[in-house]
Amino acid sequence: MLVLPLLAFILITFVVPIGQMLQRSFYNDGFSAHMPGISQWFAENPRGSEPNDAAWAALADDLLASAEARTIGVVGTRINYDVPGTRSLFTSTGRKVRKGIEPPYREALLEIDEDWGDPRIWSAMRDASRPVTSNFYLAAVDRTRAEDGSIEQVAPRQRIYVMLFMRTFWLSALITVLTFVLGFPVAHLLATLPMRKSNLLMILVLLPFWTSLLVRTTSWMVLLQQQGVINDILVWLGVIGGGQRLQMIYNQTGTIIAMTHILLPFMILPLYSVMRTINPSYVRAARSLGATSWTAFRRIYFPQTLPGLGAGALLVFILAVGYYITPALVGGSSGQLISNMIALHMTDTLNWSMAAALAALLLGSVLVLYWLYDKLVGVDNLKLG
């Protein structure tokens, strides 16, 4: 009973908004709700049928009604997602239609704007005539529907999402490996050093963890930029010439360095909590049984850290896959991740359906990874602390 307020809170602030957002990825009635006549006509006539007089009449009626109801913008926005630059076609036509339109409607509409004859517009309107659509998901994997309804790849220079997904997963995997390589020895030290020293080390690990993400990211900007601290030192030491300053930020390198640093505690802490529970007598036993220190580490110690490693790797990877602020600030163009694209659609293009589709794909792939992890390692073995 006492958890009911929390449940309600989670439901209202978490489940419902996310559910609504995800719904947008496959459900958008911006066209169908405000253009019922032409939507009806699309439903009755199969794909590929030429628009007849009834179709043109329904379109003109709908445009008029929508313009009167001031919803023509919404309709235009919906078509604009599929055929960029068409929002104004709807709004301007709407204005003109309100001044009066006479049959024959086909000629009248083409008179207003000859784009109404464009089969792409008709194809897009047909796609949008049903509120449930897979178009956003297709777009999220660089696919689109051809005029005949078949699925095809978009033009090569528009193929960005698949590449961004690949880059996101690749960089996340790389960052996970880097945090492991850097974090494992630190966690081991934390677990084995005497109390005083390990407490000090723990503070060193946690201090950046408690510091604002933005502060840490901007401090990397100070360090890594071309006129930054590291380049200055390298030039001063004579390692590189003044003209060969390294480009370490506003590209992938920047994203990797900054994200590895920021996500490091998420690897160290689960590893540490597992390592602390490993009795040193295991390694001693292995040594007394004839194993060299390396064998004892590889066969006895390391396997026992796997639950922590699994937890750390899963945490770091999942956080990295959805990371947004750091790549946005230090990533330049080559260091952008898929979440930056989602943010773009949320805030700039206002194509929330597209953002939702990308986010759903991201969520889906993380769930698949989690499922794989469960199959391979077993979630029961996960130790977060």
Binding site: S281, Y282, R284, A285, S288, L289, A291, T292
Partner: protein, 367 residues
């Protein structure tokens, strides 16, 4: 008893010292030699240095000073994995991510032994501890006693000549512990291995060992067979640590050879055997085992001194009557009377005279 010259000893500690911080010595001038096939127990309270000695022998600690030899070879610089010493740990230290079979196979694998021979040896070792059916279990699926057996089998599977055991039975219940004591002893005799055993449980030490080294304060207080240790303790610490003991402080009144007369705090005189005292007038602590105290005049040797005592409490324990007495101002003097048919039943408040054979009372260093 084996002598202390370490020329042909299997394991020898020579003037070994150990300090962790460079100031206080945890082990002070340790000399110990162990013969091949011997079962030697290091017994002592916690912090007495016994475990440190074992760890130095295993190679997990380095001696600050002195030399440790195994089979005539100095091993101070030999890393643990090259010493070929089997070890049973206090918490068993069975590898939790491996099955019982893999645990036993591990020391053979790291020695590069072939699969067929490994399997044969693992099977033989498991048979030795009657655990043949458990090869595919995980340690977590076994009971404490079973884990103990596996730990034992693992320490023996690669045929070490020396096996170290660090309080291996500490986590078991009493009954199982007694059973395992017997089994370990049995294995030791059967295999002819040398065992160095660490415990703080004196009963365990007395039942299992050929010789016991009693540790306190970083030194061996006495190294002797169990019965010597019990009957002829050489100092007050050993007398107090092994078995139940009555300690009476006093001053040496007369000394002739090893026969001493001791004057107690209340002026009473008792007979004792002088052990580590040298002269008249010296302070001493007289140690008497409770079962050697007599209160019937006919049981005391003629001419022996007797002193007054008051019965404070009689506890009926079945086989014995444990009687607490007020003697020379101390109220925790214990006398154990056998519960025989003709035994006189004492009442509390009763005044009696007690005495003993002079060789049973040992005048030791003052506490």
């Amino acid at each position: 008893m084996l002598d202390n010259t370490s020329g042909d000893a299997f394991v020898a500690f020579e003037h070994v010292q150990k300090s962790y911080d460079g100031q206080t010595l945890v082990v002070k001038d340790l000399n110990l030699s162990i013969a091949k096939g011997e079962f030697v127990t290091m017994l002592g309270p916690s912090g007495s240095g016994k475990t440190t000695c074992l760890m130095m022998l295993a190679g997990f600690e380095t001696a600050t000073h002195g030399e440790i030899r195994l089979d005539g070879r100095p091993i101070n610089q030999v890393p643990p994995h090259k010493r070929g010493i089997g070890m049973v740990f206090q918490n068993y230290a069975l590898f939790p991510h491996m099955t019982v079979g893999e645990n036993l196979s591990f020391p053979l694998e790291v020695r590069g032994m072939g699969k067929a021979e490994r399997e044969a040896r693992v099977k033989r070792s498991l048979g030795m501890v009657q655990m043949g059916a458990f090869a595919n279990r995980r340690p977590a699926q076994l009971s404490g006693g079973q884990q103990q057996r596996i730990a034992l089998a693992r320490a023996l599977v690669f045929d070490p000549h020396l096996v170290l055991m660090d309080e291996p039975l500490g986590a078991l219940d009493k009954q199982l512990r007694e059973h395992m004591q017997f089994e370990i002893k049995h294995l030791h005799e059967e295999l002819g291995i040398t065992v160095v055993y660490v415990t703080h449980d004196q009963t365990e030490a007395l039942t299992m060992s050929d010789r016991i080294a009693v540790f306190n304060d970083g030194r061996i207080q006495q190294l002797a067979t169990p019965n010597q240790l019990y009957e002829q303790p050489e100092n007050s610490f050993v007398a107090g640590f092994i078995g139940e003991n009555n300690a009476l402080p006093g001053i040496i009144e007369a000394l002739e050879g090893d026969k001493a007369v001791v004057k107690l705090a209340d002026g009473g005189l008792i007979d004792a055997t002088a052990v580590n005292i040298r002269e008249r007038g010296q302070k001493t602590t007289v140690s008497i085992r409770p079962e050697r105290v007599e209160f019937k005049p006919e049981m005391m040797p003629p001419g022996a001194h007797s002193i007054e005592a008051e019965v404070l409490e009689v506890v009926y324990m079945g086989d014995i009557l444990r009687t607490r007495l007020l003697v020379a101002g101390s109220d925790d003097f214990i006398m154990k009377c056998r519960n025989t048919i003709g035994q006189t039943r004492l009442e509390s408040g009763q005044k009696i005279r007690i005495g003993w054979h002079p060789q049973d009372a040992r005048a030791l260093d003052p506490v």
